[in-house]
């Protein structure tokens, strides 16, 4: 029953924490980017999780689910719509991040974020 529900939540939270930990402690900017996608994944998982209802099916009202019974048969469609947007955004940001990170490391000759502190104070 609730075990599945909370396991997913736990996994998602774990991913977020691991991701943040990676972001805050890794030095290589590409790894930091990777850590961001891990945390992103956790968040997306949490988003889908929030629309979960036990024992229900996809919100497509074809023959299997008559429109009249939809209310008691399908899961919440909104989080699914949101997560799609969120994933696409994640991909877009990740692509840009990778490009910037790769170019930064090439142009600056290092991928170490501790060496990118020319601007400070």
């Amino acid at each position: 029953m609730n075990v599945f529900y909370w396991t997913v939540a736990g996994t998602a939270s774990g991913l977020i924490i691991v991701g943040l930990w990676g972001v805050l402690t890794r030095k290589n900017i590409l790894r930091i980017g990777l850590a961001f996608t891990i945390a992103d994944t956790g968040v997306n998982l949490l988003l889908v999780w929030s629309g979960y209802l036990p024992g229900r099916t996809t919100p497509i009202l074809n023959g299997d689910v008559p429109a009249a019974e939809a209310v008691s048969a399908v899961v919440d469609p909104l989080p699914q719509a949101l997560v799609l947007t969120s994933i696409v955004i994640g991909v877009a940001v990740a692509a840009l991040f990778v490009v910037v990170a790769v170019l930064a490391s090439r142009r600056l000759g290092t991928a170490d974020i501790r060496r990118m502190k020319e601007l400070k104070w």
Partner: protein
């Protein structure tokens, strides 16, 4: 339909230009401009329809429905009059910046156009998740354009921005999950219905997101790095589009946050404002300064959100942020991105003036109206909070001033390069006029703030006369100086209107205009940097003290108690009393000499006017004795300093402060005699200090030096200047029969009447010491040996000589017939309520009190008679001697060396210095230097938060988040 066009036209343009880019760059730029113009037209239509510029129009709404059905199922975009006006600024900013940015970096137009749509979308968004989408677009474009910009550190900036937006994404989506699960919908308004711990968690998450996005201290680290490193032309676009949109979105978000206590926001904001701006004090990089300024505005938003509500909130946020954004855009447009270290290196201070004044919120610029309204609200809630805000704003003005003053470039020659920036400045000017017209009902020049009557008219005469007479000499600057005439005129006109102001606000506005124009006037000097800086700092501090008083006393300039204390402090600062002389000495000695004459002779009287008129005598009474002592000790200390100083203008500066000490003493006595003495001396000081400084202006203009050691013997070359100077020196030394004695006589009578003998002694001592520098001044400059290089020096220019003549004529008239003034002054002062003590009796030309009497006319006649007798007797009793060469002196049988060596002027009163050696050396410069150093050190502590490591910035956000959650959780069990 128009709404949809206004929002989405740029996006369509973006799709179009994305295709055109790399094919036809010029066409693409043209299309970009066309789409922006069309969008601007659309949003203007909307703004007009909503009646946004009229009262209440800010709250009118127009809904753009999207999708099917209505919220919470679908998403609305809500255009209010408020956001429509901001959208106009977004369009304007984009239009201004597009040529400078996209023109230089082809291929950026689609991103720029998209940024406009996104900014509008975010400002109009009503849906929680929809806002998220817009925020992400904005972040992506910011990262992309930063990386594409022309600047050496683009990668670092882009990477930091990307990491920050990564964190924001995560925190925001977590908030989305919680909001949706607890409320079942995603409208922004739904958030405010939340309760319990989810409310706290969502508030914490969103507050962290908002503070990070708007760059509020202490989460401003990345923003500072951003503004320092980014392509300044992109920053120009960014400031008016995305930055503004985020601010306005945050302004709406902050009102719906389910905080247990919205007052928390104000405290976070005020604390951040003080500490963050303190950290900014040491900044040298102009870009970073703009970052700190942005952070200040972010803090202001938090304060507003915590304290102001309703229509006020709308108008205040709008005024603050649109004009700040537009000003920042203009500033950034003036930068030359190719100059990596200082993009404004080649820019003249003139062109930066308007936008920077707008940013600091000097009246009458638009931000000022918002500032004063905000402070009024804060004063009702917590004066402490208001004090913190004022302190923070003061810090901001200090570094903004630094940014302005270090610009040394000439006027830009490349017109094309500057078009956009000038357009921005023109828009700001228009905005200024418009808002000032809107705020007009708060201003009045005809009210009864100051009792009409002789005393007011006297000050009016001082201000008007002083300005007019200082002005002629100002048209031509001295050696190495530029002409301060325009600024002197501005300052002088504002001063002249001062006594006519009908309410406190008008008074403050005029006061500030006069002050900042004077600052600019001072900066026209030959070596302006130090002097102008300290002048600006002290004038700024005085202005903010006055502002605090104004706000605390509900629009009157002051009322008894704390406001009076603040006003007194402001006046003391303005007059350089009690150690604040640092600015007088530095500013007067580096300013153009005529400007110094204006400041010392005329402008300093504004502070006297403030003290005499701002409050009833009863309000000053509790401060009276302290004031009197401050005045007396200043008079003495500054006289001693003046005796030991050997720079002409610095001596005059010390002397000026010293003389004003008597005025403060008189005011502190709060008796009829005391105030009569103070005002009489004020007028006297106005006369003789103007003469002295104008004389100095003439001398410096002709010789090019103000050093005692290099002057001397000028009486032979500049006899008229010497005569005027001699007369005014005799006057201020208080030697009868000239007018200075009158002030002293009144003052001692007042002091003895009040039984304040120790004060009288200090005053007496000060006046004797004044004798020392008075003689030294006359001797070192005009007497002694004329240096050979000055053999050909001509008499001072007529433009300074003629005004001196006028002043001297008035001075002489006043000397022999002081009753011309006192006849009216004494009854006027006697009629001021609350002043105690006896009223001096005037009979004919004689003045008497129960203590003593004085008849200036008969004294004058006696002196003239005896002197005339001696003169005539000498004349007829023998032949006249012949004038011999300057080195024909009895020199104990030896040949005197060169005139320079024989002229004994430096370290003139060495025994005096030796005699004073037992005193500990307290230099005002050390004291203030110490204050500055302490502030710098404290600032450095906070600055060190911003290590430059993006991970640290993320950690800051997380720490703040944790602290806020724990704090709020503790607050609501």
């Amino acid at each position: 339909m128009v709404t949809a066009l206004a929002v989405f036209l740029p996006l369509l343009g973006a799709f179009l230009t994305a295709w055109l880019t790399h094919r036809n760059e010029r066409l693409s730029l043209l299309i970009t401009r066309l789409f922006l113009l069309a969008g601007l037209a659309a949003i203007l239509v909307i703004a007009a329809r909503l009646g946004a510029v009229t009262d209440g129009g800010l709250e009118n709404t127009m809904i753009l429905r999207t999708g099917v059905m209505t919220p919470p199922l679908s998403i609305d975009l809500k255009v209010t009059g408020w956001s429509a006006l901001a959208a106009v600024v977004v369009y304007v900013g984009a239009l201004l910046g597009v040529g400078r940015f996209s023109g230089r970096i082809p291929g950026t137009q689609p991103l720029l156009l998209t940024l406009v749509t996104t900014s509008l979308g975010l400002m109009f968004a009503t849906d929680f998740f929809n806002s998220f989408v817009f925020i992400e677009i904005g972040s992506i474009i910011t990262i992309g354009l930063t990386a594409a910009g022309r600047c050496r550190r683009r990668w670092e900036v882009a990477l930091k921005t990307a990491m920050i937006s990564g964190l924001v994404t995560i925190l925001y989506l977590l908030a989305v999950v919680i909001v949706y699960r607890t409320t079942g919908e995603l409208r922004l308004t739904a958030i405010s219905t939340m309760t319990g711990f989810p409310a706290i968690l969502v508030s914490g998450l969103l507050l962290t997101v908002i503070m990070t996005e708007i760059k509020a201290f202490p989460l401003s680290g990345w923003g500072l790095d951003f503004y320092q490193g980014v392509d300044k032309n992109f920053a120009a676009v960014y400031s008016s589009t995305w930055s503004l949109a985020v601010l306005l979105w945050s302004a709406r978000m902050l009102t719906v946050l389910p905080l247990p206590d919205p007052g928390v926001l104000a405290r976070i904001g005020a604390g951040g404002l003080v500490l963050g701006q303190l950290a900014g004090l040491r900044q040298r990089d102009p870009g970073r300064m703009m970052g700190y300024s942005t952070s200040a505005y972010a803090s202001i938003l938090l304060i507003l959100a915590g304290t102001v509500h309703g229509a006020d909130y709308l108008s205040l946020t709008l005024l603050f942020f649109t004009f700040a954004s537009l000003s920042k855009t203009t500033v950034f447009l003036m930068a030359d991105p190719e100059e990596e270290d200082d993009p404004w290196k080649k820019v003249s201070g003139y062109v930066l003036l308007l936008p920077l004044l707008c940013i600091t919120g000097i009246p009458p610029f638009p931000v000022f109206w918002a500032k004063i309204r905000m402070l009024t609200v804060l004063a009702d809630i917590s004066p402490l909070l208001m004090g913190a805000v004022i302190l923070g704003l003061f810090f901001e003005s200090v570094y903004i001033y630094r940014l302005w003053s270090s610009r040394t470039g000439p006027w830009q020659k490349k017109r094309k390069y500057f078009d956009a920036a000038f357009m921005g400045a023109a828009l700001l000017a228009a905005g200024t006029v418009w808002t000032a017209a809107g705020a007009e009902q708060g201003l009045s020049l005809s009210g009864e703030l100051f009792r009409a009557g002789f005393v007011r008219d006297l000050f009016l005469a001082i201000f008007a006369g002083g300005t007019l007479l200082s002005l002629p000499g100002a048209f031509r600057g001295g050696p190495g100086e530029k002409s301060p005439a325009v600024w002197m005129l501005v300052s002088g006109v504002a001063l002249t209107l001062l006594p006519l102001s009908g309410n406190g606000l008008t008074f403050y506005v005029l006061w500030e205009i006069s002050a900042f124009a004077a600052v600019i006037g001072v900066s026209k000097g030959a070596r302006p940097s130090e002097g102008t800086f300290w002048f600006a700092v002290f004038a700024g501090a005085a202005g903010y003290l006055l502002l605090a008083s104004l706000v605390l006393s509900d629009g009157a300039v002051s009322s008894p108690g704390i406001p009076m204390l603040l006003v007194a402090a402001a006046a003391l600062l303005k007059m350089g009393q009690g150690g604040a002389h640092l600015w007088n000495v530095r500013a007067y000695s580096t300013a153009p000499s005529t400007m110094a004459a204006f400041l010392s002779g005329t402008s300093s009287k504004a502070a006297v006017f403030l003290l005499v008129f701002s409050a009833s005598a009863a309000a000053i009474l509790p401060l009276g004795t302290s004031l009197a002592w401050i005045g007396a000790l200043t008079a003495l200390g500054m006289a001693a300093m003046a005796s030991l100083e050997s720079d002409y203008k610095k001596v005059l500066a010390y002397a000026s402060v010293s003389q004003l000490g008597y005025v403060i003493m008189g005011i502190g006595l709060t008796s009829v005699l005391g105030w009569t003495a103070a005002i009489y001396h004020t007028f006297n000081h106005f006369l003789f200090k103007s003469i002295l400084f104008l004389g100095a202006a003439g001398v410096i203009a002709r010789t090019g030096t103000s050093d005692y050691d290099s002057l001397g013997g000028l009486v032979k070359r500049m006899p008229l200047t010497f005569t005027f100077t001699l007369i005014s020196v005799i006057a201020f030394a208080g030697v009868p029969p000239l007018s200075g004695f009158g002030s002293k006589w009144l003052l001692y009578n007042a002091l003895v009447e009040q039984g304040m003998l120790p004060l009288a002694l200090v005053a007496m001592f000060a006046s004797v010491v004044a004798f020392l520098y008075a003689f030294r001044l006359l001797y070192a400059v005009f007497l002694g040996q004329l240096a050979p290089r000055h053999y050909e020096v001509k008499e001072a220019p007529l433009a300074v000589l003629a005004p001196q003549g006028v002043f001297t004529a008035v001075l002489m008239a006043l000397s022999f017939r002081p009753t011309l003034l006192l006849d009216r002054l004494v009854p006027a002062v006697a009629s001021i309520a609350g002043l105690g003590g006896e009223i001096p009796v005037i009979e004919g030309t004689a003045l008497s009190t129960s203590l003593g009497y004085w008849d200036a006319w008969s004294v004058g006649m006696m002196v003239m008679g005896v002197f005339g007798f001696a003169f005539v007797f000498y004349w007829i009793s023998g032949r006249r001697p012949i004038h011999v060469g300057q080195l024909d002196i009895g020199f104990a049988g030896e040949l005197p060396p060169s005139p320079e060596e024989v002229h004994y002027a430096g370290d003139f009163f060495r025994p005096f210095r030796r005699a004073l050696a037992f005193l500990p050396e307290i230099h005002a410069s050390k004291v203030f230097g110490g204050i500055v150093k302490t502030a710098d050190l404290a600032g450095d502590v906070f600055r060190s938060l911003f290590t430059g490591d993006a991970r640290t910035y993320l950690l800051h956000s997380l720490i703040i988040l944790t602290v806020m959650i724990l704090w709020m959780k503790g607050g609501t069990p």
